[in-house]
């Protein structure tokens, strides 16, 4: 097991290095000249050269990559627009000349927003989706099941920007039940944190819950027809025990896997949710960096997202070995 975990960890690290390399290469392949972009209206060659030098893009690509990688582990210094030296602490993801800030600082500021949205929403949709799916599977064919199924289809076909705005219109503006989405640090004021994020949580959870309910329903129904469930019945175990212990245990395994991947993807930025509700998380930061061609920030956010997706994959793989005894032994 240990060996398997280490092997997977090494593979994940390799993958991350490759992702950084490719992202870095793409950045350089972009036809836009970063120096020209941050130079302003009256710009001559000399100024551009100076900016290029400050951005450290006048040196060979391999050297830039080397410095960037080194910056991930040791502090490095940039000369900012003002020509003053700016220290960028490790892990340094580059320096945004647009906002005159280190990329790490920007990410540090927006990550808690994204994490808050992702954790709250995923918790709601996982518990809600699994419970609804179970109910639907155990009442298969009844009106409850039919409602759940239409809800699942409905939820799976809707989009955040529509549901979000509809909920915003009614829950916040018309009925005044929820607060306008804002972010307050949960360490400062947990109640405000929950109030401020309730709407994004509900919106995001509502849509994902639908597909989780469907997955759970399908998994439960499939498991209920397994031979080992018949064995449990023939052993005279109670219905509840069979449903909640024997059936759910088998049906939940693939759902946990998908949940891990979904959560990993979301931690790297909930682009649509954040921009719909005007929250400054990783997703909206990334979107903005693309709009403004803030190349160091694009690299930074892409790497940040990639990190979470790779980590989620790693954790899911390891978790699967824990959840499924067959994988555990084979590895």
């Amino acid at each position: 097991m240990m060996k398997y975990a280490l092997r997977r960890l090494a593979a994940a690290a390799m993958l991350l290095i490759i992702v950084i390399f490719v992202t870095f290469g793409l950045f350089m392949a972009v036809p836009a000249d970063p120096a020209r972009l941050s130079c302003g209206k009256y710009c001559d060659e000399e100024m551009k050269a100076r900016i290029r030098h400050a951005m450290e893009i006048d040196i060979p690509l391999t050297d830039q990559y080397y410095r960037f990688m080194k910056g991930l582990v040791v502090d490095r210094t940039y000369r900012a627009n003002t020509d003053a030296e700016v220290k960028c602490e490790a892990p340094c993801l580059g320096y945004s000349f647009r906002t005159d800030e280190s990329v790490t600082e920007i990410i540090k500021r927006s990550a808690p927003v994204t994490f808050s949205i992702a954790l709250g929403a995923s918790l709601i949709w996982l518990t809600g989706g699994v419970l609804i799916g179970m109910l639907s599977a155990l009442r298969k064919g009844t009106w409850i099941d039919k409602i759940v199924q239409s809800f699942a289809l409905f939820g799976a076909s809707l989009q955040i920007y529509l549901v979000g705005w509809v909920l915003l219109l009614f829950l916040v503006i018309k009925w005044d039940i929820l607060k306008m989405p804002t972010y307050t640090s949960p360490f400062e004021n947990p109640i405000e944190w929950m109030k401020g994020l309730a709407l994004p949580w509900l919106t995001l959870a509502f849509l994902s819950m639908a597909s989780y309910a469907r997955l759970t329903r399908a998994g439960m129904i499939e498991t209920l027809s397994e031979d080992y469930i018949r064995t449990a019945r023939s052993n005279g175990l109670s219905k509840k025990r069979i449903q909640f212990k024997h059936t759910l245990r088998a049906a939940i395994t693939p759902i946990i896997t998908i949940f891990g991947l979904d959560l990993g993807g979301l931690l790297g930025g909930a682009v649509i949710t954040e921009s719909t509700f005007g929250l400054r998380g990783i997703g909206s930061t990334a979107l903005e960096s693309v709009r403004e061609l803030d190349l160091p920030l694009i690299i930074g956010t892409v790497i940040f997202s990639a990190f979470f997706i790779i980590m989620a994959n790693l954790i899911v793989d390891l978790l699967y070995a824990v959840l499924d005894p067959k994988v555990r032994i084979a590895s």
């Binding site: 019945r233 025990r241 067959k326």
Partner: protein, 329 residues
């Protein structure tokens, strides 16, 4: 009164195309501590009969009629909840595909202990000790160590033993084994049958063994019931049925067991296929495949023969026998 009495059991499954007549008026008795083999090909209704006895059809769309009386209780009148309470403690079942029949995510020992603990309300430690005792009883080596193994870590024979241990953990009086040896190789088959025999002797458990293999039955059970198209076609003591089969179908089944001592690689088989259970013919279901129907004539197709006692004490459902003729061997 017999320990288990099945009277006129009929089981129908409504499907889109109509109604499948899986079992049609089957009756048999089983005495305490005795064993009965139910033999027939796929679709003859033998497995469904056992599911009906276990009450496992109660939550399904199946329509069960007739009476199943176990130890004085009429199980057909029992609710699912009442059935649940006597499962494991009064009657238990062993299923054929041992890998599918055990939960893949739980340790084998724990699965056995769970049943015991749930049924007796004992402590975890007692249940574990009981599970280890049962694993030992069915011949699992190092039961203490193997307790924590998962089903896929056991061989097929060991899994089947574990399933038998699980079925026996609460000392049921009736054990139904549905093709317990089908997926196993021949030497392991013999071991499992010996184990069942040992259980029958030591605990006085009544056993119903369901199989398509008359060879398995002949060495193991006291009585045998041969089923065809959801009906009992021949019932009697295993000795009589094997030595002097009266029904052409039983005779055909016995003749199709290959003779290992003969040099000629010549397989005998029953021609034709089993009937469509959606619409049963009014006559004998076996008539279209029967070698002897020409000796009897139209009667075979016109009327259903009754299950009557023949001269050899076994009961046979056949016009040929009832017209005083015999199958030739």
């Amino acid at each position: 009164m017999s320990f288990l009495q099945v009277k006129d059991l009929s089981i129908k499954f409504p499907v889109e195309a109509g109604i499948v007549h899986a079992v049609n008026g089957v009756s048999f008795n089983l005495e305490e501590g005795k064993s009965l083999g139910i033999v027939g090909e796929s679709g003859s209704g033998k497995s469904v009969t056992s599911l009906a006895i276990m009450g496992l059809l109660k939550d399904s769309s199946a329509r069960v009629s007739g009476e199943i009386i176990l130890d004085g209780d009429n199980l057909t009148a029992f609710s699912e909840e009442q059935m649940r309470q006597i499962r494991s403690t009064k009657l238990a079942m062993v299923f054929q595909d041992s890998l599918a029949a055990l939960h893949p995510f739980f340790q084998i020992g724990k699965q056995i202990a769970e049943v015991y603990r749930y049924k007796t309300g004992c402590s975890k430690a007692v249940a574990k000790a009981r599970a280890i005792e049962m694993l030992d009883l069915v011949g699992i080596p190092e039961p203490q160590k193997r307790f924590a193994d998962y089903p896929h870590q056991f061989s097929g024979g060991m899994r089947q033993r574990a399933i038998i241990a699980m079925a026996l953990v609460c000392n049921p009086k009736l054990l139904i084994a549905d093709e317990p040896t089908t997926a196993l190789d021949v030497t392991v088959q013999a071991q499992i049958l010996e184990l069942l025999q040992k259980v029958q002797k030591e605990f006085g458990t009544s056993i119903i063994l369901i199989t398509h293999d008359l060879g398995v039955v002949s060495e193991f059970v006291d009585d045998v019931l041969v089923m065809y198209a959801g009906r009992a076609v021949e019932i009697g003591s295993v000795k009589q049925v094997i030595s002097t089969p009266q029904h052409p179908y039983t005779a055909g089944l016995l003749a199709s067991i290959p003779d290992l001592n003969s040099d000629v690689a010549n397989f005998t088989f029953i021609k034709g296929t089993p009937p469509n259970m959606l619409k049963l013919a009014q006559g004998c279901s076996f008539a279209p495949r029967c070698d002897y129907q020409s000796k009897v004539g139209a009667q075979c197709f016109d009327s259903l023969p009754e299950l009557l006692q023949s001269e050899n004490a076994q009961h046979v459902r056949c016009h040929l026998v009832q017209s005083g003729q015999k199958v030739s061997r």
